[in-house]
């Protein structure tokens, strides 16, 4: 089932992340002072306070830190139940809120290996926006 796909509104501080998403690449900020991989994307390091940040391409691989199958919810998402809301722990460290897609929701579990997929998204007016970072189970695990 296709989930609602509302595009995020990038700003000057997180644009590099969304430019990467347009190209199907997971691009993350990293502190040039202490090396910390920053999530959510921003131009300040929450660990050391430095505003010197560079950006690098991450692997897009990770494992599920927590997940829930939402079965009842109001609004547009209510038409897409059951769906999987999750935190994925990227191999680079950050725990990222997302959906698990291309899966049987009843079979998704904490610890499962997953990989990034970028899904098309549209803005309020129906125009294409930056793709969404979702994850799917790694096949054959």
């Amino acid at each position: 089932m296709t989930l609602p796909a509302k595009a995020a509104e990038p700003n000057s501080e997180n644009l590099r992340f969304f430019e990467g998403a347009e190209q199907g690449r997971l691009v993350l900020p990293r502190c040039t002072t202490c090396g910390f991989v920053i999530w959510f994307p921003r131009e300040i390091c929450p660990e050391c306070g430095s505003q010197d940040v560079d950006w690098f391409e991450a692997s897009g691989s990770g494992s599920i830190y927590s997940c829930t199958v939402t079965r009842r919810t109001p609004g547009s998402w209510g038409k897409s139940t059951p769906f999987v809301l999750a935190y994925v722990e990227l191999d680079e460290g950050p725990r990222v809120m997302t959906n698990i897609v291309d899966c049987d929701p009843e079979q998704v579990a904490i610890g499962d290996r997953v990989e990034a997929v970028f899904e098309e998204a549209t803005d309020r007016d129906g125009n294409p926006g930056p793709p969404l970072l979702r994850f799917r189970p790694v096949k054959g695990q």
Binding site: Y65, T73, S80, G93, I110
Partner: protein, 412 residues
């Protein structure tokens, strides 16, 4: 410095760096809750939001034996309409030289009480009024969030995934179950205890006693949280009046001393969030240290209960049981008044009684004060209740949240 209470100082020092030279002054015994009021209604379609703020303000002032002309400080959060404190001070006709609109969601009112007690201890004010009101049952704002301006820096990375309020707390529950073996039956025990208490509250939104089986058979909202793991949605509100010792000594009403407070914002931890604990791991030790008591001294707790899992994790964080042992702690009626090992939420809490404006912090304090005044419903009044704890949790356990803990005593 020799710690005034070695055990609680040690508990605090696990989490907070306190310089050896630091002399903790605190607000213990400097401020008193003189009046509380919970709106008796749970559905108020024909009353305006300012009217409900006024209903509870006047109710709490009357309870204290005071009037609006006595108030010199006013506190409200994101539920206050319009320009917040400015609109409400004007509407209520107050003369205030101290105002505060700290917004931390459902815990706001405990944070306000802490700030009011601090201002009283500093000698700035004598009578603080704190109000809460909302109409989510009638319609309008949904659970969660605040009226602040848009542009939250996290929004582009969190608002695309269909996270409902229960869905976010479900993520915390799933991880707690994964790490510690907590079960749905154990979570259900929390709702059972709340419903057992609510049957004695004629104002409670839900007054029927439910069983573990009925909780587990209620519709699944977001695994593992069932409908009966979730709090109610009600109109209404509440208020409290906090006064200085000079004012308290002039009042006939039983004024309850504030013995300790602590607040803490648990962030998303630089993107490495641990979903199995809350900011209560910090707010709790701060409050216990200030009150110079330990969790074992507490006779009654009001614990924020947006969901059953909120209670279970908070009890662990506050030190009432070991980390991961919350499931066993709440089982077998452990939370049931009057004789469980730790009676909680004797009004029925947010799970059964009331969750006005989708914010449960105010009613937590109100029921704690009732217990100390021996004014809880008779069947759930804790005998010889001397020391109580009220705790609020605002925001979301799934992202960022603010915990606030307050310890109150029957007397100094």
């Amino acid at each position: 410095m020799t710690p005034r209470c070695a055990s609680t100082c040690a508990a605090v020092r696990q989490f907070v760096h306190i310089p050896a030279s630091f002399q903790y002054v605190g607000i213990k015994g400097k401020a008193f809750i003189a009046g509380v009021y919970e709106h008796p209604e749970r559905h108020l379609p024909d009353r305006t939001l300012p009217q409900i703020h006024a209903d509870v303000a006047l109710g709490a002032l009357s309870d204290a034996g005071l009037s609006t002309s006595d108030v010199d400080a006013y506190y409200s959060a994101g539920d206050a309409p319009g320009f917040g404190v400015l609109s409400m001070v004007d509407y209520l006709g107050l003369d205030c030289h101290y105002i505060n609109d700290t917004e931390t969601g459902g815990s706001s009112y405990l944070v306000h009480a802490q700030h009011a007690a601090t201002a009283i201890a500093a000698g700035h004010i004598d009578v603080a009024l704190i109000t809460l009101a909302g109409k989510p049952r009638t319609g309008g704002a949904g659970p969660g969030g605040s009226g602040r301006v848009g542009g939250a820096p996290e929004a582009p990375f969190e608002s695309q995934w269909g996270m409902s309020v229960p869905g976010g707390y479900a993520l915390a529950a799933q991880r707690h179950m994964h790490e510690f073996g907590t079960t749905s039956e154990q979570l259900a025990e929390i709702k059972v205890a709340a419903s057992t208490h609510a049957q004695h509250n004629p104002h409670a939104f839900l007054q029927d006693v439910v069983t573990v089986e009925e909780v587990l058979e209620s519709p699944m909202i977001s695994d593992p949280l069932h409908r009966l793991d979730c709090c109610v949605i009600t109109d209404g509100g509440g208020a409290m009046v906090i006064v200085s010792e000079a004012v308290a000594s002039q009042l006939e009403r039983h004024c309850v001393p504030i013995l300790g407070t602590g607040s803490f914002v648990k962030s998303s931890q630089s993107g490495r969030i641990d979903l199995t604990h809350t900011g209560a791991v910090r707010s709790g030790p701060l409050a216990f240290n200030e009150a110079e008591i330990t969790p074992g001294d507490i006779d009654y707790v009001s614990i924020y209960d947006s969901f059953t899992i909120t209670v279970l994790i908070t009890l662990e964080d506050l030190g009432f049981c070991e980390r991961g042992a919350g499931g066993r702690f709440v089982a077998d009626g452990g939370l049931q008044a009057p004789h469980g090992k730790l009676p909680f939420n004797t009004d029925g809490g947010g799970l059964c009684n009331n969750h006005p404006a989708n914010r449960g912090g105010m009613t937590k304090v109100i029921e704690a004060v009732r217990q100390l005044r021996n004014e809880a419903n008779a069947a759930v009044q804790v005998p010889d209740c001397e020391l109580v704890l009220a705790h609020g949790t605002g925001g979301s356990l799934a992202t960022r949240s603010a915990s606030s803990t307050m310890i109150l005593g029957r007397s100094l």
